[in-house]
């Protein structure tokens, strides 16, 4: 860029243009500019002035420099006020840069950040859609809790925005707070039951989800499959390892034989997953390929897992980081199932240009793959490697040869000979490594190897590497009776050099001396005593200890007891040979492709892959939705089925003779609603626009469904101008009672999903579309009857404590609509629960670290619907380990609950590292009372009594209702059910935002839109009984206000009144 501006200057070096050019230049030579900033803080004054100037160019320049500072990691926070002023700038680029700045510093300067909020609200109404969109994104990225309600409103508005781009961003904003899969992974990874209903949908959508989303979904489905299906791995399988043990450890012999008799048939859903992930092996994204590979490895029958090898080997052409991860995974796989990668043996040959870490991994795999048939080729290859200039790698190769020698008996001698030859190698590292490996090999083979030992004894004169020297000495000691002439001589030489040896070697000299003393005391008695004397005064205490120990043991004196009789047995016992194992042996318990597998330690947030269940859980759980659907949609379902069949033919015709029939499909698919997918026919831009427009409707109606029953129904019939949907609605009501059609229609549903397997791509996507659409419609049709709390529903998002965005399925509106079906809860209440508008971050102490012997526990109310039961209040407990030791087995012990209270405890925590902290969630049903739940929080060693008493405001869930409904409900809750109080406070405390803020801080209530400025209404229901709780704040003349609470639960009502009153009157 700098050169650009220079060239510009040359071209037209006139007045202002030059000035601009210079400005640009100064921005751009970062080293200079940045250097100045760091050294001279006054420069910031300069920037401030620039920001305050009225020339956009100067502001832009200043902002660019500030972004440069942020990028460098320099602190630019003191410029905050000056920058925030410019958020209202008309210039898009300045605005964007200010947004960048805000996202970075808003968290640190919350108060000031709030100043900019109003501008954002204005920006959300900007005519430029890009500004609207980015304002929304920034707003949702500013991690300031207070703005959550504003954000809610913003998202709500944006989702109805005219521009599809803004709507798409709105979808992302939603995901930030409450994304489907991630929320699932974050909040309740062990609640596998929530996937059931969406399992098939996820499987079918998988190919169309964008690549990053695929990775996350595949990992989740792998875990799901391991809990829901029985093992497809045959029991008698030779390669079977832990699974086999798992079954064998089972005592119930009878059941085992039963099992064997029964032929294994794979659950069709299991098959569906395996089949639908296969095409993804062809993905260009290495992460997707790896995800599918691990899925096949963990859940497919062993005979089918072979197809992943080819794809994994393909990834080896990629860059070194990808190679590294893939090779690690292959290494683990190749230990268990050699056959898979044997055909690709040569792909693992090492190249001289590979980095050492890649070389070592390849070597590891080659070793795992070695067998009688290929060992000779491999050894030839290894010979090359030993000569490598990369000595670390050469040493690893020698180790490898040792391992091959022990694993494959045919070549043991060859390898040994080869290694002995290496002893005369010029490179010391090679020699040392060979000595160590030979030592191990000889130890395993009790055969006479006098020659080799003699050869090695000679090496002692030349070799200096301590490990190798120690190994030689040990070998001679062990075999001292086989080399009776050499051993004493070696000891003599060693005695001479004892003081200058490495500690490791000294210990072995002592050992050698002891062994010789026992076998050949005539020649070596004096020598040994000399060495023992040297050792006695050694600087190293290990050596002094060893010396003392050996002396007592072998030199007979009056003090030495019975032990010395056994000295020979102790020293010259038959020692078990070491096992040369793969360093990847112990990694197989981690799920492949995970961070934990790569690091070989359990990473934070890692979830164990469960073992296969012995008996599959009821597969019909995945049908639930389908059956319901069938109940309501029987005839329509049939019609749809025909429709899809017709569709299939027309599509396939089009496949045959391409372009001519495209007009046909156009009109067809245009009417087919905005489904899309890459396998669909996307031949024409006309079609696009029609699809687009209908998809807009979809996403709009989709997102807002469940908002309000009446409105949804209305929009349904309006937006979907289709006859079946209206039919359906009637049908829906009719068929509520007709149970007879149940079975039939569910079978139809089944067949439609089955047909996918056989039919071509087009038909698959079509029939899928139909299914999805049906489901979607049913959902909408059903809304009036039951209440669905769907995740992407606007009125229902909860700020998750650590929000992580979903891999953007929002690419297509149809996906949005589908994901909407991913229900988390099926509350049956009539009142529609909305999202908490504000979640206080206040935590309460559950267990102080002093009283908990270092274990501290805090809890807070996330104000989310509880996942453990709809009558429970969800509570998040954060456990901290403040000790310097692991705390193990943290769990909940004895519970002392008042009658009626129920509690869902968190899963026991195996261990908590020092300084570690973990957050768990649990649910307590307080029965709408403020009774205290007492229970014991236990660790492995201790039990601490703790209790939770809920603030009354947390026993509520916010409710969305209209003003009219509010008044209606309020009218029914008068008299006994009404409590009220008068509040007096300064006028500044009666602004709408202050009241709003104070009320939602105390109680988990939802705001009700109000037509009058002086009346504020809030609605909620109690968690346990679902009774309404209506709060009204009516402002009166002269700094007074009336606070009214209407509820059936008068006790809670009055408590809440007591709590709200002081807060509202406070200054």
């Amino acid at each position: 860029m700098s050169s650009n501006s220079f060239s510009y200057n040359e071209q037209s070096g006139g007045g202002e243009a030059t000035e601009l050019g210079q400005e640009a230049t100064s921005t751009i030579s970062p080293s200079g500019a940045f250097g100045l900033f760091s050294s001279d803080l006054k420069k910031n004054e300069d920037l401030k002035q620039m920001l305050e100037s009225n020339k956009d160019s100067a502001k832009l320049d200043a902002m660019k420099r500030i972004v440069g500072m942020i990028a460098k990691g320099k602190n630019a926070s003191e410029l905050f006020p000056a920058v925030v002023k410019n958020v209202a700038s008309k210039n898009i680029e300045i605005k964007k840069l200010v947004y960048v700045y805000l996202v970075r510093y808003a968290e640190e300067q919350q108060d000031l950040a709030l100043l900019s909020i109003s501008t954002f609200q204005r920006a959300l109404k900007d005519p430029n859609q890009l500004i609207r969109a980015s304002a929304l994104r920034v707003l949702s990225s500013i991690r300031v809790p207070i703005i959550v309600p504003i954000m809610m409103l913003a998202i709500k508005e944006a989702s109805a925005d005219l521009s599809p781009y803004v709507r798409k961003n709105a979808a992302h904003a939603i995901q930030k707070l409450y994304s489907v899969v991630m929320a699932f992974e974050e909040v309740c990874p062990d609640r596998i039951d929530l996937i059931h209903k969406n399992y098939r949908k996820l499987c079918n959508l998988l190919v169309d989800v964008e690549e990053w989303g695929q990775v996350v979904i595949i990992h989740m489905l792998t875990r799901y499959a391991r809990t829901q299906f029985v093992s497809p791995w045959k029991e008698g399988d030779e390669l079977e390892d832990n699974e086999k043990n798992f079954y064998e450890s089972d005592d119930d012999q009878k059941e085992k034989t039963d099992k064997r008799k029964k032929p294994y048939t794979m659950d069709p859903d299991h098959r569906l997953l395996i089949r639908n992930t296969k095409p993804l092996l062809q993905s260009r994204n290495a992460a997707v390929v790896m995800a599918v590979a691990q899925l096949y490895w963990h859940i497919s029958p062993k005979s089918e897992a072979g197809i992943i090898s080819k794809s994994l080997v393909r990834l080896l052409r990629s860059n070194r980081e990808v190679q590294y991860i893939v090779l690690q995974n292959i290494a683990t796989m190749s230990i268990q199932r050699k056959g898979m990668f044997e055909p690709y043996l040569k792909s693992f040959y090492v190249r001289s240009t590979d980095p050492t870490m890649i070389k070592t991994l390849k070597l590891e795999i080659l070793t795992n793959l070695a067998n009688e048939a290929n060992i000779s080729t491999l050894l030839r290859e290894f010979q090359t490697y030993v000569k490598s200039q990369d000595k670390q790698f050469a040493a690893a190769t020698i180790q490898t040869i040792g391992r091959c020698a022990t694993n494959i008996l045919e070549v043991t001698d060859t390898c040994l000979n080869g290694l002995v030859c290496l002893l005369s190698n010029r490179d010391e590292i090679v020699v040392a490594e060979s000595v160590v490996v030979i030592k191990k090999l000889l130890q395993m083979q009790p055969v006479q190897h006098g020659e080799i030992i003699k050869h090695m004894a000679k090496l002692l004169d030349s070799i200096t590497v301590p490990v190798a020297r120690a190994s030689i000495l040990w070998l001679i000691g062990e075999n001292c009776e086989r080399v009776p002439k050499i051993a004493p001589d070696v000891l003599r030489k060693m005695a001479k050099s004892f003081t200058s040896e490495d500690d490791l070697v000294k210990l072995q000299i002592l050992n050698l001396g002891a062994k010789l003393y026992l076998t050949n005391s005539k020649q070596t008695k004096l020598l040994t005593q000399y060495i023992l004397n040297l050792g006695k005064y050694d600087q190293n205490y290990d050596i002094r200890d060893r010396t003392r120990f050996i002396r007592q043991l072998i030199v007979p004196n009056e003090k030495s007891g019975a032990l010395s009789k056994y000295a020979k047995k102790i020293f010259l016992a038959q020692k078990p040979a070491p096992l040369l194992e793969s360093p990847f042996k112990d990694r197989d318990h981690f799920q492949l492709g995970t961070l934990s597998h790569t690091l070989n330690i359990k990473a934070t947030g890692y979830l164990e892959l469960s073992n296969w269940p012995e008996v599959a859980p009821d597969p019909s759980v995945r049908n639930v939705e389908v059956i319901e659907l069938a109940k309501e949609w029987t005839p329509a379902g049939k019609a749809k089925q025909e429709n899809s069949a017709k569709k299939f033919y027309s599509e396939s015709e089009e496949e045959g003779d391409s372009s001519d029939s495209s007009s046909d499909s156009e009109s067809e698919s245009g009417s087919e609603s905005g489904e899309q997918g890459k396998s669909g026919e996307e031949g024409d831009s006309n079609e696009d626009s029609s699809e687009d427009s209908s998809s807009e409707q979809d996403s709009e109606s989709g997102r807002e469904s469940g908002l309000e029953n009446k409105r949804t129904a209305k929009r349904n019939s309006k937006a979907k101008g289709k006859s079946d949907s209206e039919d359906g609605e009637k049908e829906n009501e009719k068929s509520k009672t007709s149970d007879s059609s149940n079975a039939e229609s569910s079978s139809i549903e089944d067949s439609s999903s089955d047909s996918e397997s056989e039919s071509e791509s087009e038909s698959e996507s079509e029939s899928r579309k139909v299914t999805q659409e049906k489901e979607k419609k049913t959902k909408q049709g059903r809304t009036p009857l039951t209440k669905d709390v769907s995740l992407l529903d606007l009125d229902d998002f909860n700020p998750v404590s650590t929000p992580i965005a979903l891999p953007t399925p929002a690419l297509s509106p149809s996906l949005m609509a589908d994901l909407e079906g991913l229900n988390l809860s099926t509350s049956s209440s009539v009142i529609s629960v909305s999202t908490p508008v504000f979640v206080p971050t206040k935590t309460h102490v559950l267990l102080h670290r002093m009283s908990g012997k270092g274990l501290a526990a805090h809890y807070f109310f996330p104000r989310q619907p509880c996942i453990f039961g709809d009558k429970m209040v969800s509570i998040q407990i954060t456990l901290n380990n403040t000790t310097d030791q692991k705390i193990e087995n943290i769990h909940i012990g004895e519970k002392k609950l008042p009658i009626g209270l129920k509690m869902h405890v968190f899963n026991p925590i195996d261990s908590l590292e020092p300084e570690g902290s973990i957050t768990v969630s649990m649910g307590i049903d307080f029965c709408d009372s403020t009774q205290t739940a007492s229970f014991q929080l236990c660790t492995k060693d201790d039990c601490f009594s703790v209790n939770i008493q809920p603030p009354v405001g947390e026993l509520l869930l916010p409710v969305a209702m209209s003003e009219k409904d509010f008044k209606k409900e309020q009218g029914m809750l008068t008299g006994m059910n009404e409590t009220s109080a008068v509040i007096i406070a300064a006028p500044q405390n009666f602004t709408p935002s202050v009241i709003f803020q104070k009320v939602v801080n105390i109680a988990n209530v939802g705001a009700v839109p109000s037509g009058q400025d002086n009346i504020h209404r809030f609605a909620a229901k109690t968690v346990h009984s679902g009774s309404l709780m209506l709060v009204t704040v009516e402002l009166k003349e002269g700094s007074t206000a009336q606070l009214i609470i209407n509820t059936e639960k008068t006790v809670i009502g009055s408590v809440l009144l007591r709590e709200l009153k002081p807060v509202l009157s406070q200054g």
Partner: protein, 443 residues
């Protein structure tokens, strides 16, 4: 998922940081520097590092480290793949992915990172989409921008993101409609000292440059599709169509992109287009050795082999080399001990050779292993596997595009070993051959 990103140059300066969630202090990179110090060279820095509170996943690209900070379990390839996409995008935008380019365009870099990762999760990674949101810098635009004060932030709607085809924007218009395909094949081979092939494999890619108006639907068929053993696709390709008919059917992204990459089945014997005769010897107890290599063509299918470069990593004891060459030029870097011989074309009448003396450090023992040779070359107008494009059809649009296919064979990782005594086998790595045919017109 991804919390923060640090860009670090070779001398260990953190010159850019970006946080998607709360700010992570730069000091977390100390763990990375520690690992870097432990590793012998940059290539050996482990891509995944565990620190007490975070995990660092890094890639090394174009002399820069991209270090990302992770807090919880995540598939490492997910992060690695994403980081490479970021580097690719920089490359695409600035022509090079270098410290200078990134610093010069720090604002664009920030905007790009903001779009690519949203709250730690990949958002827009498709280059077509990004280019609509944030326009790449060009000389003309920066001049115009500085005059008019307009920005490089696009103010049009990124249609592609919303259309049915997420990788293609709507409303593309060209006056000349063209579609070019480059079939580039690389031979990876290891050849031992006796000249026999230890391992050889052909890997290929088809890169496309599509400049077509509207929403063209293309299908590309091959004369011999069975050659393709293992294929990975750009997301635009309809997988089922390939499965059933072995035809690549797709609506292309606009501009340059990689359509497929493939491997040719290993059953087919790979014809190695060049051979090398070599004799490298070091005299015992003397400070010099002899060096002699000759290159000749072999099975070149009548095409000229060009762009030949031979690289030899000489043993550390080599001090200097005095060589004469019959063709091309050579350089020897006494620091890295790399001998590079730029040969050029082979003419079968006079085979290029390089011979002369090697000076060793006096007193040092003679190198026990002869070095391996890496050979690069290029063959235009030939795909060594024999892969041929049959035809390209376009549906959905009325105009007639100009279509062209180009074949190139290159050396990929091509290594020859020059062996020694027991426990040594020579190894040549032939890198690939690359065939290039100039816009052969298709029907």
């Amino acid at each position: 998922m991804i919390h923060s990103l640090f860009l670090i140059n070779c001398s260990g300066d953190i010159f850019l940081e970006k946080h998607w969630k709360s700010v992570v202090s730069q000091s977390v990179c100390d763990y990375f520097f520690e690992a870097q110090e432990k590793a012998a060279d940059v290539e050996n820095v482990p891509p995944v590092i565990s620190t007490p509170h975070h995990y660092l996943i890094s890639i090394y690209r174009d002399k820069l480290f991209f270090v990302s900070v992770i807090q919880t379990e995540v598939p490492p390839l997910f992060v690695i793949e994403f980081l490479h996409r970021v580097a690719d995008t920089f490359q695409d935008y600035f022509g090079e992915c270098s410290e200078a380019a990134i610093k010069d365009n720090v604002v664009i870099v920030y905007e790009l990172l903001e779009e690519m990762l949203d709250n730690g999760f990949p958002l827009a990674t498709e280059s077509n989409i990004l280019k609509e949101l944030i326009k790449p810098p060009t000389i003309l635009r920066s001049v115009v921008n500085s005059i008019t004060g307009s920005s490089n932030v696009g103010d049009t709607l990124p249609t592609g993101q919303l259309s049915n085809i997420p990788w293609r924007r709507a409303g593309v218009k060209y006056t000349n409609n063209e579609a070019y395909f480059d079939v580039v094949e690389e031979i990876d081979a290891i050849i031992d000292k006796s000249g026999s092939t230890v391992f050889a494999e052909i890997q290929g890619v088809i890169d496309a440059c599509i400049k077509l108006s509207g929403m063209p639907d293309l299908s590309l068929s091959f004369m011999n599709p069975r050659l393709l053993d293992d294929v990975s696709f750009h997301p635009c390709i309809r997988f089922k169509r390939w499965e059933s008919e072995r035809v690549l059917s797709f609506i292309p992204p606009d501009g340059n992109f990689r359509l497929i990459s493939y491997r040719v089945s290993s059953q087919n014997l790979v014809a190695i287009p060049v051979y090398v005769k070599h004799s490298i010897s070091f005299k015992e107890n003397s400070s010099c050795g002899r060096f002699d290599i000759t290159i000749g063509p072999k099975q070149n299918m009548g095409k000229t082999i060009e762009g030949i470069t031979v690289t030899v990593h000489m043993p550390k004891v080599v001090l200097n080399m005095n060589l004469t060459t019959t063709q091309g030029s050579y350089t020897f870097d006494p620091v890295t001990k790399v001998l590079t011989w730029d040969v050029g074309k082979i003419t079968p009448q006079k085979l290029p050779s390089l011979k002369g003396l090697v000076n060793l450090q006096s007193g040092a023992p003679k190198p026990e292993e002869n070095p391996s040779l890496n050979i690069q070359f290029k063959i235009q107008q030939l795909a060594i596997s024999g892969l041929k494009v049959n035809r390209l059809d376009m549906y959905g649009e009325k105009y007639k595009p100009f279509k062209g296919v180009k074949y190139v064979t290159k050396a990929g990782k091509f290594q020859e070993d020059v062996g020694g005594d027991f426990f040594s086998i020579g190894e040549y790595h032939l890198t690939a051959a690359h065939c290039n045919s100039k816009g052969r017109k298709l029907q």
